[in-house]
């Protein structure tokens, strides 16, 4: 129902526009939620469509790195857990696509943008999963960082996005725990297993810090996003929170965080600068797995075409039989 009635029938005059805009700003400032049929500035709609679609794409592409290990998980229990986690990510993508659709963009448009490579998704999913320990590091670090990012989004000013985030956060805490459990088992295992865990931490640490986005000084959307209560914390604030939370966990595992500049100042863990040129490179399509990920999505979409066609044909046939009967 949300996708209907979004077209403004008559163009608004300047006076109406400023009155609506004032009312909107006051509403957001008062922590009231914006719902799909409420008037909103075009820039707010655009910002949300972009963010929610990117978030949805990240969930969908995010199935691929772990999907790589579904057939090789070390036990039936691990396989069941990994399947459930990957299935959750599909579900989270669907919640988010639905939330974006309430803003007037169609599902097909978003899917096309992803498949054509014109849409962005989280840079983290363009790194390869080389060993089983990577599944541990992803759950622990990547999902840990995602949760850090997502919990404040549960209070986002846009109702459908906030509601989707509540569901997602509720489901995602198991993702982080199962990852940490994998890391714990490996860290307490044979020297080879512990080395595998350390190697995974070495490779995933910096890309995880990059998940929070560019430094505040370079972030273009921070101000407006904060004013409109889409974001509640800046990229750097969230990154610091993540480091403060994660470093003691690495110590518990007996692993070394791959940052020679890491030190504790009595309040926070001070950390080195991520390689932002790598971040830009991966985001712009030139990471280790960008092409592979897009090719996998396109293949899945093409291979699924006959299923979509069959579903439509089946529904048509049923309907025509009902008409006859």
């Amino acid at each position: 129902m949300y996708t209907q009635g979004l077209d403004q029938a008559e163009p608004l005059g300047d006076e109406d526009l400023s009155r609506l805009s004032e009312r909107f700003e006051a509403k957001v400032a008062a922590e009231d939620k914006v719902e799909p049929t409420d008037w909103m500035p075009d820039a707010y709609r655009t910002l949300l469509v972009r963010q929610i679609a990117q978030h949805a794409h990240s969930e969908i592409v995010g199935m691929l790195p772990e999907g790589n290990w579904l057939s090789r998980a070390p036990s039936l229990r691990r396989k069941g857990i990994l399947l459930a986690k990957v299935q959750d990510e599909a579900g989270h993508g669907l919640y988010l696509y639905c939330a974006a659709e309430t803003l007037g963009i169609s599902r097909d448009e978003m899917v096309e943008q992803l498949l054509a490579g014109t849409a962005k998704y989280s840079s983290i999913f363009n790194y390869p999963t080389l060993t089983w320990a990577d599944c541990g590091a992803i759950g622990w670090l990547v999902d840990g960082a995602a949760i850090m990012n997502q919990v404040p989004l549960c209070r986002c000013s846009y109702g459908p996005y906030a509601r989707a985030m509540v569901r997602i956060c509720r489901e995602e805490s198991f993702h982080q725990r199962q990852g940490f459990e994998i890391m714990t088992v490996l860290s307490q295992g044979t020297p080879e297993q512990k080395a595998m865990a350390q190697d995974a931490l070495d490779r995933w640490w910096w890309p995880s810090l990059m998940m929070f986005g560019p430094p505040d000084a370079q972030s273009t959307h921070n101000d407006r996003s904060m004013r409109w209560k889409v974001k509640r914390f800046t990229n750097d604030e969230l990154r610091q929170k993540f480091v403060d939370m994660t470093v003691p966990q690495a110590h518990f595992l007996g692993l070394t965080v791959p940052d020679p500049d890491l030190s504790y100042n009595g309040e926070h863990w001070v950390f080195g600068e991520p390689d932002w040129s790598e971040f830009k490179r991966v985001l712009s399509g030139d990471g280790p797995c960008n092409r592979e990920r897009l090719a996998a999505r396109n293949k899945a979409h093409d291979d699924g075409a006959w299923v979509r066609e069959a579903a439509v044909a089946h529904a048509e046939k049923k309907r025509s039989r009902e008409r006859v009967a």
Partner: protein, 100 residues
């Protein structure tokens, strides 16, 4: 749905709103929406998308086009009844009186 959708395309798949009753005794509650070709697929997908952790004892799916909604622009005049006396807090109960 339109008469002849493009093969493999799903732009014409209708939108369904999903309602879940989490356990008996509670009302169905709106949880989100999804696209499906027909009611049967909508129910199956609603189970997979919205009740992976046993959240549901019953599911409703409703074609989004069947929902009639109040006009958001009329919100104030439509709901804005100033009748405070409908609420118990409007009334002063004298000190010492209990059970009211």
């Amino acid at each position: 749905m339109n008469a002849s959708p493009e093969p493999g395309q799903r732009s014409t798949w209708p939108l369904w709103e999903v309602f879940v009753r989490s356990r008996s005794g509670l009302a169905h509650q709106h949880v989100g929406s999804l696209h499906a070709v027909d009611a049967e697929m909508a129910i199956a997908n609603a189970r997979d998308v919205y009740t992976r952790r046993g959240e549901g004892a019953s599911l409703w799916v409703v074609p989004a086009t069947s929902i009639v909604a109040s006009d958001p622009d009329d919100k104030e005049s439509f709901f804005g009844l100033d009748e405070e006396f409908r609420h118990p807090s409007h009334y002063v109960v004298p000190d010492g009186v209990v059970g009211i």
